[in-house]
């Protein structure tokens, strides 16, 4: 047993209202810079919908995550080391800018400077890629709240998997929001894909980071991450990703997305796990066993043997204590209501989700069914508008049983609490019916409904004496790399939002031409620092050729 500590998050989707505050504050904090205009470390997508980047969950197409070989070993879906090296200059499995969206701004200046005329002036959209006037056809959140209907949601890879009848109708409409950050996986396929070893998982808290000095811009990690949560900064030519707000977490405060979450649905806490057990658990044969397998690597911090082993592994006492108070532990292990996102990617993700409840479908309503009754509430779980199959494809590799169990537990909590709230005697059979006790239901209710800040975020501060474990953090500000958020230079979303920044257009062209070129240009990227224009690396400038 090798005990490691992992900073983890649970999001309760039942409470997410899709306000996108998390995305905005994350963007303001981390990607409000040129080079990463199109990048949202935190995004919130409407389901059903295509997601961001479009259809990222279609691994046949994007080749992210791990696959299990016939011999029971894991290898990156995009191919082993040799294959990756062979394709290093022509990685074909990258989302194009159109799969994210082409970032734009507006000619705000025109509103102030337009000469008097018989029409009021208007600010037209301008592409941040080409600098030219553009027509907006996709955005960071194009299908918000079912915008685009079937034309867009029809492209949802999950929907395609759960039903032949993909078409959505008014009467049977359903929708929920899915906020996403990097999963900070126990078995990260991005790190495994990096030829330069620039991606590392911090030993102290498991946060996955890109070393900006070591990154050579191969972008294999973009392909390797099945959640598409690694992005290419086209100004620096390096990969960037969600940092779990480590500068905040190290001093014991939650990530920006959690701090500002209006729905109060995020929980942060530690999970202790057995690092020796990860590889085997991630390689279990049946994908539907991955949820249970991942739970099996978590170690109970209340178990004295685990605590002792943790101490031996150098985990400080206050961290062990924090692991015992971890709301993430409670939600995943004690109440069993949180589920992993796409365990079938075999990366052992560490941002888990409580699936959402939803209205019952009309059938029940018209037949006089009363969803308020305890019995009926249980029955109604099968009649919820969001198909359990859809949720199962997200959280349990298609196995509906664990999802149904969670929904039943939430329904039981409501039925149990209703009696308490009405001053009626509690009905213990409601609790035992879902394998819980009344007390446990009340504890779970507390955590889901009224837990305050310091119970939702149990984050032990980093230990200065262990700073070496944080690797690069010992010296200087690790955010202070060229083009990083530690530097000056506001991007198009900042106070200079009106200004068009002629950002490294070339890089996008390079990206595109490399995806499409027959014979990739050969340049020694290892010697390129992301600045300047090595001969042959970029196609001719815009003014030298017509744009495609």
């Amino acid at each position: 047993m090798r005990v490691m500590a992992q900073m983890a998050m649970v999001m309760n989707l039942d409470k997410c209202i899709g306000c996108h505050t998390c995305s905005v504050t994350c963007k303001q904090a981390w990607t409000n810079r040129s080079g990463v205009e199109y990048v949202w470390f935190n995004n919130v997508e409407t389901r059903p919908g295509q997601g961001y980047p479009r259809t990222y969950q279609d691994q046949k197409r994007w080749q992210g995550g791990w696959v299990r070989t016939r011999r029971g070993r894991l290898k990156p879906r995009s191919g082993g080391r040799v294959k990756r090296l062979l394709s290093i200059f022509a990685n074909p499995k990258l989302p194009s800018i159109q799969d994210y969206y082409e970032p734009w701004t507006y000619e705000y200046e025109h509103l102030l400077t337009a000469p008097a005329g018989d029409q009021t002036p208007v600010a037209r959209p301008t592409s941040l890629i080409t600098g030219k006037q553009t027509r907006i056809t996709w955005s960071a959140n194009w299908d918000d709240s079912l915008a685009g209907g079937n034309e867009t949601a029809g492209g949802d890879p999950i929907l395609a998997r759960v039903s032949e009848q993909v078409r959505q109708e008014y009467a049977k409409a359903f929708m929920f929001f899915l906020p996403r950050i990097c999963e900070h996986c126990l078995n990260p396929s991005c790190a495994a894909s990096c030829p330069s070893g620039a991606i590392y998982k911090r030993t102290e808290d498991g946060i996955v980071l890109v070393d900006q000095d070591d990154c050579r811009g191969w972008r294999m990690c973009v392909t390797g991450c099945p959640y598409k949560k690694i992005y290419f900064n086209h100004r620096t030519g390096k990969a960037e990703k969600c940092t779990f707000c480590f500068p905040r977490v190290e001093i014991g405060i939650p990530t920006v997305c959690s701090e500002t979450c209006v729905g109060r649905l995020r929980y942060i806490g530690l999970m202790l796990y057995d690092a020796d057990a990860v590889a085997r658990a991630a390689a279990v044969a049946d994908e539907t066993d991955l949820y249970a397998a991942q739970r099996s690597v978590f170690l109970d911090p209340h178990d004295p043997r685990v605590a002792e082993a943790a101490r031996r592994s150098g985990i400080p006492e206050d961290w062990i204590d924090a692991a015992r108070r971890s709301p993430v532990w409670d939600l995943i292990m004690r109440y069993e209501v949180a589920l992993p996102l796409h365990p079938e990617y075999r990366t052992m993700p560490m941002v888990w989700y409580i699936p959402p409840l939803s209205p019952v479908v009309d059938v029940l309503r018209d037949t006089g069914h009363d969803a308020e009754d305890a019995g009926n509430l249980f029955g109604a779980v099968d009649a919820l508008r969001i198909p359990v199959e859809y949720l199962a494809e997200l959280f349990t590799a298609g196995d509906t049983a664990p999802v149904t169990a969670v929904l039943r537990r939430l329904a039981a909590m409501r039925a149990y609490q209703r009696r308490v709230n009405l001053g009626e005697p509690p009905d213990e059979s409601i609790a035992t019916g879902v394998g819980m006790t009344g007390q446990r239901i009340q504890d779970m209710y507390r955590l889901l409904a009224i837990a305050k800040y310091d119970e939702r975020y149990v984050i032990p501060a980093a230990h200065a004496e262990a700073a070496a474990g944080l690797e690069e953090l010992a010296t200087g500000c690790s955010l202070d790399y060229e083009g990083g958020p530690g530097m000056g230079g506001t991007g198009p979303f900042g106070e200079s939002s009106g200004r068009y920044e002629p950002v490294a257009v070339e890089n996008f062209h390079a990206l595109r031409s490399r995806q499409t070129a027959d014979s990739p240009a050969r340049v020694n990227l290892l010697n390129w620092d992301g600045k300047g224009r090595p001969e042959g690396l970029f196609p001719p400038r815009r003014d030298e050729e017509e744009r495609p």
């Binding site: 009363d370 308020e372 308490v420």
Partner: protein, 949 residues
């Protein structure tokens, strides 16, 4: 709710975890549906029909088939259901509900007798006058009796029990048919003092169609009877909600209220608001919470989630906002009527107000234009009007004082009656009556709130506009209001805006003053939704040339004063005041019987005040001496605030002996010091004042905080919970959460109404004329009949006529910020119109293609958002999508496509103009005509995809 009350939304999920059941009524699969256990997709504007049918179920199952003691007890104590109403014959002899039977009918002769309605006392088997009515509120005889204590009285709910009268048929209007029809249903009666009377409860059962044995008339045979209002089956074809679901939800709502002690709640959003007949929708919904005893109960009742931006420390705020410390009364106005007249929307009203009337009315609206009714309302002092006279009130004041120094008001009264002086509203287009200077502060009139945007542009601003409507034909024009052949264009000389953003309004402004944002100023913030007062504290000083609102207005005042000292000097001004709520003015119209001047009708009040124009800036910067003498008065409660004035003199410092208000923080301190919600002494003093009138104990509610004074520094360190105060009807005592009317239900303090109870029945003449004496369903207006718009559903080549709604959008409520780059990047990047897949297919438009929406009011160009979450027959253009970003020229007009309000306009409902009668009396931000626009329709068409800017 998750969209417009984003920060509160988590409580909804959390309440569900406590076992709360949620039913969402919404035409689209709105964001709020995520909280629902059940979704009832009622068609737009039909919520009133759904609520009426639910009311039918509740009355039948919880009052008639089985008597629910809790409900009966509640409605007997706290509502007008037991009160007696006369039945009077119409022209054809058929009986109709008339007026409340009052002490005057029983022979009492004092002035207030007509304001003391009567019940039948089951204990003594005689007519009786309960305490707590308006007639007890001001009279000397009412001291100690303005309360809801019934004593030994046992008001009977129905005339069935032991009555001597026979059952008679009454006529009640129905509006679900075209034309409107009449229901004939029986009520039991009694004979009292020579009148045939019944109770409001009996009328309610007749109105809702809940049959009882032995009563004549036509009644629904069962819930499945779809022909007779207001059964569940009746509402199904109107709303689209299955009858069984309607009945079951109604039953659950009432059953939950019974089991939980009144904790069933209706959260009402903007979707049922802003209809022409929203007041009827409200009353139908309120009937549900009131019948089930949920009003005035924490966790139950009516949660009004739109347009209730009220200020917790209201008393202090009002002193400063209206300068009451220096001069009273202030000038106040009703916004809807102001813009209706001054943007000339009235000239495009092509219908006779008679079309809105009830078939049971006696024709008082027929042949009259809404502008005529508005003029009458102003003339009778019901509603304020601005400008009031056709002459400068400074000159009128001089003239009146010269002619009659002792009683200038009587001079004005006579000049008006004699026609020597006129109301501006009788000739709104005369140049002397135009608004000339408009300051837009903290608002976005032309990008957000101006309903009838194109009318504003053409007539008020005189810019180009896409208005397409035709003016009223000669026979459709007003009779009392002057029609000028050439409609004025460009009335304004100066449009001034204060803003920190380029908005659709600043685009049109002559002068824009750069404003500080929320994070650059000191201010206070509060709402009636939350029991807290918050501070704004600047993170940085206002950058560049920006100034805080406070600094900007003080600078303007200073410059104005310097000029005015010589140009205007000291003058007398004549302020015209409407008949006000919470004053004895509410007794101006006994029985709600309307008399115009010819019959000795009412007038507004005329008050001469002194204006020292050179001193305006100095006065703004100091707390004035009038406060020492008159104290503060809020909702009829007067408090001597001399202790607070002395404290403020000490803490704020003085200028010329008066407490300073020369900085934003000092102004905030004054607001906090003078309000009961933030000053325990003021709250306690206010309750003591009230106790003299009610004769009941109230001051203990604030006693725990009597020594507490919330200062600005307190609000800066954290949001501060407010103190229970007579300014509001809820109690926070002992740390409980605010819920309206808990002081009324728990402390027997009357509501500020005619009976002192919550009213189902309104007996004013105009309300009767509209057929709205009782809760009733009125469908959305027929814009084809009223304005000649195409019929709903009419199709042409690539075009279709649909209901046009402008809901509140995600990320912006009225004015700010949905069009910043980040929010636009998280959506569609510019103006959009949401349309159902079926309607989109009919006009062959695909997602993100350009469409044009056109009606008589204007033109909009936007991209279509096609979604299966939208119902057929309705498009949404979310509120406040500005014309500054990505708005091309329209094919229909060749001009820049407009904003969401380019397709809307104001329509004034006559009954909203009623004043001078009990609770139907004007109060600032409480009563007046609504700005409604949801009844609108539009033609929507696919346009050329090549757009020009």
């Amino acid at each position: 709710m998750p969209v417009t009350r984003t920060p509160d939304a988590h409580w909804m999920a959390e309440a569900r975890y406590r076992g709360q059941k949620v039913v969402v009524v919404s035409p689209d699969y709105a964001d709020s549906v995520k909280f629902a256990d059940e979704w009832l997709p009622a068609a737009p504007g039909t919520d009133g029909a759904l609520a009426m049918a639910m009311g039918h179920v509740i009355l039948k199952e919880f009052f008639v088939d089985r008597v629910t003691p809790r409900f009966v007890d509640y409605v007997t104590r706290y509502t007008d259901l037991p009160y007696l109403v006369t039945l009077v014959p119409g022209a054809d002899g058929a009986l109709r509900p008339g007026k409340f039977l009052t002490a005057a009918d029983l022979g009492e002769t004092d002035r207030e007798a007509a304001f003391r309605p009567v019940v039948w006392d089951g204990a003594t088997n005689a007519a009786a006058v309960p305490n707590g009515s308006l007639g007890h509120r001001y009279a000397e005889a009412g001291v100690g009796r303005w309360n809801l204590d019934l004593g030994d009285l046992r008001p009977t709910l129905s005339c069935v029990e032991g009555a001597d009268g026979e059952a008679v048929e009454v006529e009640l209007p129905r509006f679900d048919t075209t034309p409107a029809g009449v229901l004939r249903r029986g009520v039991p009666t009694r004979r009292v003092a020579g009148h045939t009377v019944t109770t409001v409860h009996d009328l309610m059962l007749a109105q809702y169609g809940v049959a009882r044995a032995g009563l004549p008339g036509r009644w629904p045979s069962s819930y499945q009877d779809g022909d007779e209002p207001y059964t569940p089956a009746w509402q199904e074809p109107i709303t689209g909600v299955p009858a069984a679901a309607c009945a079951r939800i109604a039953r659950e709502f009432a059953d939950n209220a019974d089991r939980s002690g009144g904790r069933s709640m209706i959260i009402m959003g903007a979707g049922t608001n802003h209809w022409f007949h929203s007041d009827t929708i409200y009353r139908a919904m309120l009937a549900l919470t009131t019948l089930t005893g949920c009003q005035g109960v924490n966790g139950g009742g009516w949660a009004h989630y739109v347009g209730q931006e009220k200020c917790r420390p209201v008393t202090g705020w009002a002193q400063l906002a209206f300068g009451l410390d220096w001069s009273r009364p202030p000038r106040q106005m009703i916004g809807t009527a102001y813009w209706y007249l001054h943007t000339d929307q009235w000239r495009y009203d092509t219908y006779d107000a008679g079309v809105l009337a009830s078939p049971t009315g006696d024709g008082r609206f027929a042949g009259r234009h809404t502008a005529d009714l508005l003029a009458q309302s102003a003339r009778l002092g019901w509603m304020p009007s601005m400008p009031t006279f056709d002459r400068n009130p400074l000159d009128v004041a001089d003239e009146a004082l010269a002619e009659r120094p002792d009683d200038p008001a009587s001079y004005v009264d006579e000049a008006l009656r004699g026609g020597r002086l006129g109301f501006a509203g009788q000739d709104p287009d005369a140049p002397e009556n135009w608004p000339r200077v408009l300051t837009v502060w903290r608002a976005n009139l032309l990008g957000s709130s101006a309903k009838g945007n194109e009318y504003f542009l053409r007539h008020l601003l005189g810019t180009d506009a896409s208005l397409r409507a035709a003016e009223a034909a000669p026979e459709q024009r007003p009779s009392d209001v002057v029609w000028r052949d050439a409609a004025p264009e460009g009335k304004l000389d100066l449009l001034l805006s204060l803003d920190f953003r380029m908005t659709s309004t600043t685009l049109f402004s002559d002068v824009v003053l750069p404003a500080a944002t929320w994070y650059e100023k000191h201010d206070l913030s509060s709402t009636d939704m939350h029991p807290f007062v918050h501070a704004f504290t600047p993170a940085i000083a206002p950058p560049w040339q920006t100034r805080t609102d406070f600094a900007a207005f003080h600078a303007l005042a200073r410059a104005f004063s310097d000029l005015a000292a010589t140009h205007l000097g000291v003058r007398k001004d004549l302020v015209v005041v409407p008949l006000l709520h919470d004053t004895p003015d509410a007794l101006a119209t006994p029985g709600g019987v309307v008399r115009d001047w010819a019959d000795g009708g009412t007038m507004p009040k005329f008050v001469v005040v002194e204006r020292d124009y050179g001193a305006v800036a100095d006065k703004m910067a100091a707390l004035g001496p009038l406060l020492d003498r008159l104290g503060t008065t809020t909702k009829g409660v007067t408090v001597d605030v001399n202790p607070e004035i002395q404290t403020l003199a000490r803490t704020n410092g003085v200028v010329d002996g008066r407490p300073r208000l020369d900085t934003d923080v000092r102004a905030a301190e004054a607001i906090l010091a003078l309000s009961g919600t933030t000053n325990g002494r003021v709250a306690t003093a206010g309750f003591h004042f009230l106790e003299r009138r009610t004769g009941t104990a109230l001051a203990d509610l604030a006693a725990e905080h009597e020594g507490k004074r919330i200062t600005f520094a307190d609000t800066q360190s954290r949001p501060v919970p407010v103190i229970t105060s007579p300014e509001w009807s809820g109690s926070e005592t002992g740390g409980r959460r605010y819920s309206p009317f808990t002081i009324n239900t728990e402390r027997l303090k009357p509501w500020h109404t005619l009976t002192g109870r919550q009213h189902f029945f309104l007996d004013h003449d105009w309300i009767h004329e509209a057929g709205e004496a009782l809760p009733v369903f009125r469908p959305p207006l027929d814009m084809h009949a009223l304005f000649g718009e195409p019929r709903l559903g009419a199709t042409g080549e690539l075009e279709i006529t649909l209901r046009y709604l402008t809901p509140h959008s995600k990320w912006s409520i009225h004015s700010e910020y949905q069009d910043n780059l980040i929010m636009l990047t998280l959506s569609r990047g510019g103006p959009t119109i949401w349309i159902s897949e079926a309607d989109a297919a009919r006009i062959r438009v695909r997602d993100n293609e350009w469409v044009e929406a056109v009606n008589r009011n204007g033109v909009v160009v936007a991209r279509a958002v096609v979604s299966h979450k939208m119902p057929e027959g309705t498009v949404y253009m979310y509120h406040a999508q500005e014309r500054v970003v990505d708005v091309p020229k329209a094919e229909a007009s060749g001009r820049r496509g407009g904003i969401h309000n380019s397709l809307t306009r104001l329509l004034v409902k006559p009954t909203h103009l009623v004043g001078g009668y009990a609770q139907l009396s004007f109060a600032f931000n409480y009563l007046g005509p609504t700005g409604n626009q949801r009844d609108e329709v539009t033609v929507i068409r696919r346009r050329s995809q090549e757009v020009e800017y």
